[in-house]
Subunit: 136 residues, 2 copies
DNA sequence: ATACGCCTTAAACCATGGTTTAAGTCAACA
DNA sequence: TGTTGACTTAAACCATGGTTTAAGGCGTAT
């Protein structure tokens, strides 16, 4: 089974090594193996798990909550219902956040439309002036 | 023309008074009027403007960038093209962020599906046990 | 006139999520 | 054997976006 060094994982997932160390320290990456020299080595499974952590982070789950999730994963099958409820709840939060952003985007689109119209009209006005200029 | 106190604006937009003061201090709310006693009073226009600021904040535009936007608004029509470019660029960023979240949501949905299936199977297994129990 | 509520400020404080630094260990190649 | 390069740690540092505190000013109802 192939193993990856921290720099390889950093490159593959495009996250800083310091972040990976930080996550491990926070308990988000349990059971990371070390070689004789104390260096971390990651299996494909562990990289996939880190991928999930990144998904949760990208959807703004607080680290404290991700930690609870990870603790439940470590605890085993008996926590699956708790994890299910957590993920359902998180999904709800994420959908609400996306809605909020899409709402804001409407307001931003109104601005874009206004500014575009203004810019367009200015441009036409300049073209008119140019024509008048040439006929002068 | 009706004016609103800071507590009224806070209630209407559902943001803390402290945040409104903080935004004003950061230069995000220029030209807020004061009464003789030094108390802020907001016109409908100013509340609408604050609404835009909230949109930008809700789409994670950094305060420093919002500040630049506000400065350009104050500067006047000559900055409309700059504002247009800023808003177009911001929209691009927001769409990218939403995509990232939706991507993550797929991974979360896989977890939900797995956990649901497991929970469902456990439940069925318990029902089977119950039936066996009754027949015993 | 005094007390209450709403407002003001500056400055201190806070949470979150990392990043950077400094000092050191080890493996491998020249 | 010694010099790189990749790794290690703990601790300090940082940016962002606020919130809280403390001390005080005014206006109006009692």
């Amino acid at each position: 089974m192939k193993y990856y060094s921290i720099s390889e994982v950093s490159d593959r997932l495009d996250i800083p090594e310091s972040t990976i160390r930080y996550y491990e320290k926070k308990g988000l990456l349990p059971q990371i193996e070390r070689d004789e020299a104390g260096r971390r080595f990651f299996s494909e499974n562990q990289i996939a798990f880190l991928g999930i952590i990144i998904y949760l982070k990208n959807t703004h789950m607080p680290i404290s909550v991700i930690k609870q999730y990870v603790d439940w994963v470590v605890e085993g099958e008996s926590t699956i219902e708790l994890r299910l409820e957590m993920m359902k709840n998180h999904k709800k939060n994420v959908l609400a956040e996306i809605s909020l952003m899409q709402e804001a985007l409407k307001g931003i689109d109104v601005k874009i439309a206004r500014y575009t119209k203004y810019t367009q009209e200015r441009k036409e006005a300049r073209e008119d002036e140019f024509i008048l200029e040439k006929r002068k």
